[in-house]
Amino acid sequence: MFRKILVANRGEIAVRVLRACREMNINSATVYSDADRDALHTRYAGEVYYLGPAPATESYLKIEKIIEIAKQSQAEAIHPGYGFLAENTEFARACEENGIVFVGPNSRAIELLGDKIASKETMSQAGIPVIPGSEGAVEEEDMAYRVVEEIGFPVLIKAAGGGGGKGMRVVRDRKNLAGSMKQAMNEARSAFGNPTIFIEKFLESPRHIEFQILADNHGNVVHLGERECSVQRRHQKLIEESPSVIMTPELRNHMGEAAVKAVTVSKYNNAGTVEFMVDKDKNYYFLEMNTRLQVEHPVTELITGIDIVKEQLRIASGEVLSLKQSDITMNGAAIECRISAEDPEKNFAPSTGKIAELVEPGGIGVRVDSGIHKGFEVPIYYDPLIAKLLVWAPTRKGAIVRMTRALAEYNIRGIKTSIPFHLLVMEHPKFVEGDYDTTFIDKVLGKIEYKKSNYEVAAISSVVSKILSSERARTPAMKKGASVSPWKLTGRQAMMRKR
């Protein structure tokens, strides 16, 4: 096993990896930007190295600087977390070239799976179901018309180079096809520097179901079951759970085998996630593969008892997978809510600022993976995800009530968070029944109305607060119990003895 690892990330995922290092007795180092001098991951790591100014392009995305720090700190491996450089072929290659182990797949697999067209073709050839569509890139209008004739409307135009909804267009009739194509190409060019697009059948109300896999460097592959991630807003996952309510043991076997095959044919190693779309008739289609640790990996950890980050480190150090497919069992139900610094009552506008108060939920069946602490100034420069709240219970129903209880305990002040949104979902009958798909938030939840029941209390408290606050203003300095200076010139001797 490694003696020292550099964690080249920030926030909750950096802390997650650093915790695994501590439990494995591996020395850890991490990097920080100007905005993260007092970040939780900076507090947590064994060693900390300054990267540069706050913008990611000047800090967390600086490949050369990170490689240099890895060498300086004598780290033998780099864990990239997710985001930033996690799926960057160039970075993986730079690690390989500098004799540093990249905790993730080999650079060729990243490259192949980062290209949506090439990876779709690879999977299709291996007999894994893919969504019907163009064979490869669509460059001209004529070609687009031929494709839609074959597969029928509605169709989805997608960019080969990236994700996150950019360069994507749903087209429902012939007259909008050419225009949407041009828009998508322009968007893809500016977002990914690559205008290549392709077309596939648009699935109306699919569910998003993904399989966690582990693959060692010796050809052994297992899957850890599925996660359902259909609660999405603008292609961003907000809530994930396992098992999926639509899953049967047979379907899990089939999809799991397809996931394992996807890993094998792409010569993939380390942890990864194979994403599928599933339609109403439970037909499943390969969507893409995420070549990194996922935000939602703890859902699977709660269900299987397997520590995925530790497995990543073991695999990266060359160990043979100790798990066989038959060892892996799924137990109970787990849900994750992504806690983000966004104001759900203002259309999820970013809400940064200083964390004035932080009380995290606890007790039975609750796990919090946090990236913040009280007093931390949530920076404007990075992803709004500040923490993940997870629960486990023997049943899905038990997990939902537990999540409701835990969300209500979560107290974050100073910024707005997505907590009220999650509370709403947990109490929505469709979610409770498991009757939801990727259109849930936009179509079913509709206009979000936050329930309020404490108008009278708000009125009374406002006045009480006003009175106390104006009293404070009148007597600023003297407070009861003002703390004595902790300093005296001479130390005192112990004057207490236990009787």
Partner: protein
């Protein structure tokens, strides 16, 4: 002491009297006991009747009660009467447009001296890769622009002053 409190546009009359850490409150005439069990900054714990509440004052005019956010406006009853008598007293005052979130100013659309209409865009602030436009809350003239393009601003900073 009597106050008029507007909570999300519902109006309440709160008559309040202090005794130590407790208050006796008449809410629209109904009596309740309020006990302050904890006070730290703008955060309070109250026991009202037989229930306990976590209270936080946020961003000038917002209160959070057990996680639910309400916009509130507390007006001394006498001032309220005065305001009602001359409703445009307030409108004519200088109005400071303040940042409601930290971010980077990526566009400034007004200069000092410009006339603006209600809902006109004044400037755009970016944070976490999302852009937000600050708009004029009423008609007026731009008296002062306190920020520049490229500048980082904090929540609560005065950005533009309108008269």
């Amino acid at each position: 002491m009597a106050y008029v409190v507007k909570v999300d546009n519902k109006e309440f009359k709160v008559d309040i009297e202090r005794s130590g850490n407790s208050f006796i409150v008449f809410l629209d005439g109904e009596k309740t006991n309020v006990e302050v069990t904890h006070e730290e900054g703008s955060q309070l714990m109250l026991i009202i009747g037989n229930r306990s509440y976590a209270i936080a004052m946020e961003a000038d005019d917002q209160i959070v009660v057990n996680g639910e956010t309400y916009s509130v406006e507390v007006v001394d009853e006498e001032i309220q009467r005065f305001l009602k008598a001359s409703p445009d007293k307030l409108q004519k005052k200088e109005l400071a447009i303040k940042g409601v979130m930290p971010g980077l100013v990526i566009e400034v659309n007004v200069e000092e001296g410009d006339t603006v209409k209600k809902e006109d865009g004044l400037l755009i602030v970016e944070a976490m890769k999302m852009q937000n436009e600050m708009k004029a809350p009423r008609d007026g003239v731009v008296k002062k622009v306190l920020i520049k393009k490229g500048q980082t601003v904090n929540s609560g900073d005065t950005l533009v002053i309108i008269t």
